[in-house]
Structure formats: C-alpha cells, structure tokens
Amino acid sequence: MGVTCVCQVPVAEGKSVQQTVDLLHKKLEQLGAVKQGSFCVDCETYHATGNVSGQPSKLLYVMHNSETPLSCLALFEGGPCLVADANFDVLMVKLKSHFQNAKGHKVECRGSRYRYCDFLIKVGTVTMSSSARGISVEVEYCPCVVPGDCWNLMKEFMQSFLGTSVPELPSVFVAKPEGLFAPADCVDTVTQYLELFNKLRKLQIPGSNVR
C-alpha cells in the first residue's frame, strides 16, 4: 500500500472513450509497463431515510475496490468512513428501512491494471448505468507512504504518459498535515474515486459526454 492518486483524463479530441483508453494503454506499454490483470471500483448510493424533514438526506456511499476484495467501505461524503467485511452489503439490505438504495446511481470503473517498476497504474472507464462517462487513471507508488514526499516524483511519472493533463495534489492529502502516513486500508484511494464519480455525475446534466 503506497500513495495513490486518482485523476480524470479528458477524452482526446475527436476520439471515443475506448480509443483514448487504448491510446493510454499503448503509451504505458511503450514506457515498459506490464499488464497485470484488471480492476474494478464501484459505488452504490443510499439515501438515509428518517431524517428531520426539510434537511437534505445524507447520502451514504458503499464502495468496493478490487485491490481489497474482502473489504467494503461505507462513507459519507466528507464524513467518517467505515471499513467493513464484504458481508456489509447484505447488512445494508437488512437496513432497508433506514437506508434506501438509489438504484440507477450505481457508478462503476473498470479497466486494466499495469505495473511499472514500483508503480501500479490503473486505467479505467467510468460507467454510469452502462454509459461511459469518463476515463479515470489511478497511479500508486507502492514503496512510499508519505504523500508529501513523493508527490513530485509521481507528478513526473504521470507527465511521462499523460502529457499535460496532470492533476494537482489531491485534496485528501492537502487536508491532512504534511508528512502523514497513508493508512493501508485504501480509504484515501476510495475517497478520491468518490470525488471523481461525483464530479462525473454532475457533468451529466448539461448533456451526455462523447460516446
């Protein structure tokens, strides 16, 4: 478990989502990365019922990450996060009265996983109700656990295959004091994915993205 950074890659001009993803794969393979299977991150939304009327109901997000297949994370946006066993999904079914599943809001990100030296790169397509919304790239630098230390290093690496669309330091790291040890349960990663999903969800309203 190292420092992870999730960012969104804009779709290339005049190309489809799939073509852009293929372009990225090619660039990675040119760099010398080796494909190591696939990954999947998904997110389900639950409305909290029984709240005080007038207040918007809080949204509970239940996420899974193939990197930690036996775990399930439940988090409120900007709020506390719970790391639970995979059976948590079943528990949510039992808690139907308190949390309602917002079907149709399920977001998934699937793609291939590459390994280059000590980096893990995951290029995925974000789909919401089977329509591709965007491209996500997750870069993990495994040996380091302090985000502030290796940020420049990761930025240089991302520049080498993403070109100009390199993100800033993710907000999860900015919010924490400098030099904090990233815990080994991928909470930070999943939080970043959630931010990305929400951003892509909001983009739906002006019209669907390029197909």
């Binding site: 290796c150 290093l153 080498s160």
Partner: protein
C-alpha cells in the same frame, strides 16, 4: 650499433691505431716481397748479398718500429666500458643484421620495461600497504603458523560496549531509531527505522557491520516466528537497489582499528536516505530514471544520484 661501445674509447687513438695496423701490414708484406724478389742484379756476388741483407734488415726494422708504434697506440685506445648494460648479451649488438634480427634493440626495450614495471610495482605496493583493505583486525602478512592464537581485540568486544556505542549513535540522529536485538548469540542485529521512509536490518559481528537488508516502511520485518527476518529481500525495486548500495557502503567504510567510527559513518550515510523520494538527481535533475528515484548517495558528499547517473 656503435652507441654501446663508445664509452671509454678514445676515437682518435683508435683511428691512429687502425692506420698503425695498416702500416705494420704493409711493412710485413714488404719484407716478404723483398724475400720473394730475391737478390738484385749487381756486379759482384758479395755486393748482391750485402744489398739483400741490408734491405732485409731495413724491412725488419720497419716492421719492428711499426709494431712498437701499434703497441703504444693500442695502450692509448683504452678499454671499451666494462659495464655493458647487458653484459655478454651486449655483444649481440656487434654483429647484427638489424632488419631481420633486431634482437639487441628488442632486448634493451624488454629490460627497460621490466625495470619500470618493478619500480611502479614498488610504488604501488607501498601506497596500498598504507590503506589496509582487510576487514578483520589481523596483522598483515603474518603466516598461519605465526599468527597469534588469540583473536585480535577489536573482534572480541564485550556486548555491553557494543550496546553503548549503538545507543550513543542512535541518540545522535533524531529521525533515526535503532533497536538492538541479539537473536543468535552475541552478534547484534540492529533494526534501524529511518523516519517513515525505510527500515534497515543491519547484522553485526561485534562492532563490524556484516550485512544489511533495506526494506520499505510498510513492509514486514518480522517473520512468522516473531523473530527479525534478516533474509527476505524487499518487494520493491527501489529498496532492492538501496540494499545493494548499502552493501557497497559497508564495504567502503572500513577502519579495522576504529570500528565505532565506521558505524557512525555508515549511519550518517544511511541517514541521507530520509529524503529518498523527495530528492532529484544532482546530475540529470529528474526524479525518475527507469522508474527509480535517485538511490545512490555519494560516500563523501551524500548527494543523491541515480544509479546510472553516478560518476
């Protein structure tokens, strides 16, 4: 050809001696000619005999004179230098066919080369002897029989002394913690935790550093028994490289007589890795080379270089 034999020879007298030889030869041949010619024609027999005898005597006296002259001149010529550079083999120079058998010149070159080689080897050995390269504290050059049966003192240090030295060094550096274990007998095994960057396991032999393994901060240092795992390599390439460099470092810092200085230098060097992921290479300015950050730290200046960029 002539460059060897000229020392000590008087060239002038030499040429005079050569003409003296020619004169002697001509007077001797005159003697034999007059004998061959026999008696010349004269009126009386006695006159002929007398003239023949006079002529003969003159010729013989000329020979005698020339011989004396030659002996005098040969005394002046002097001896060629006794100190041939190659003694008898210098005589090879006297009858050469230079193109086909350049024996003499090749011989001279071979001798000059071997003399130079000997000189340089002497210089090198005196320089190398100053810097002892042996990691043990044995006296150099002692044969197995003459080596004292007692082990040298720096190899048998009381464990308490080792503990003290290590704890003193640990206190020197605030961002580095050193824990000391003794899992196998009296050899100390140190677990050095450097900030949140790495953990290094250093196996010692009294106060000499024997081996080291460097792993990431989030890697497991204990094996299933709960003991320190001193054999498994790191799963990350960057730390495998750092382990190699650390092994080079422990071979570089050597002072058999003062092992605590060595340990301190090694720890100072290791401490420069606190900025392993933050530093860029001093030579190329980039952070990554083949996916690795600058893993080499110069032994004197502690500057960061990529493994391929180091000079």
């Amino acid at each position: 050809m002539a460059d060897v034999v000229t020392v000590g020879v008087n060239l002038d007298a030499f040429s005079h001696a050569i003409s003296g030889i020619q004169a002697l030869r001509s007077s001797v041949s005159r003697v034999f000619e007059s004998l061959k010619d026999g008696m010349k024609n004269r009126e009386t027999l006695e006159g002929r005999e007398k003239q023949f005898i006079t002529e003969f005597q003159d010729n013989l006296q000329a020979v005698n004179r020339d011989l004396n002259e030659l002996e005098r001149l040969s005394g002046l010529v002097g001896r060629p230098s006794e100190s041939h550079p190659l003694h008898n083999s210098g005589l090879l120079s006297l009858d050469p066919v230079q193109d086909k058998t350049p024996l003499y010149s090749q011989l001279l070159q071979a001798y000059k080369w071997s003399n130079k080689l000997q000189y340089h080897a002497g210089l090198a050995s005196s320089l190398l002897n100053q810097q002892s390269l042996k990691r043990s504290a044995n006296q150099m050059g002692a044969s197995a029989k003459r080596r004292p049966k007692v082990q040298p003192s720096t190899l048998v240090l009381p464990p308490q002394y080792v503990d003290d030295v290590i704890s003193r060094i640990g206190r020197m550096f605030p961002d580095m913690t050193i824990e000391l274990f003794r899992p196998n007998g009296t050899s100390a095994v140190l677990l050095v935790t450097l900030g949140k960057v790495l953990k290094a396991i250093v196996v010692m032999r009294s106060l000499f550093i024997d081996r080291t393994v460097v792993r990431g901060f989030n890697e497991n240092v204990y094996n299933e028994d709960g003991k320190l795992d001193i054999w498994t390599k790191s799963q990350y390439q960057v730390f495998q490289k750092v382990t190699d460099h650390a092994t080079t470092a422990l071979l570089h810092y050597q002072l058999p007589q003062m092992p605590d200085v060595v340990v301190r230098s090694f720890m100072t060097w290791l401490r420069s890795y606190i900025k392993l992921f933050q530093s860029s290479c001093q030579r190329c300015g980039r952070f990554l080379q083949d996916g690795l950050p600058p893993t080499w730290r110069d032994f004197r200046t502690l500057e960061a270089f990529h493994d391929t960029c180091r000079m």
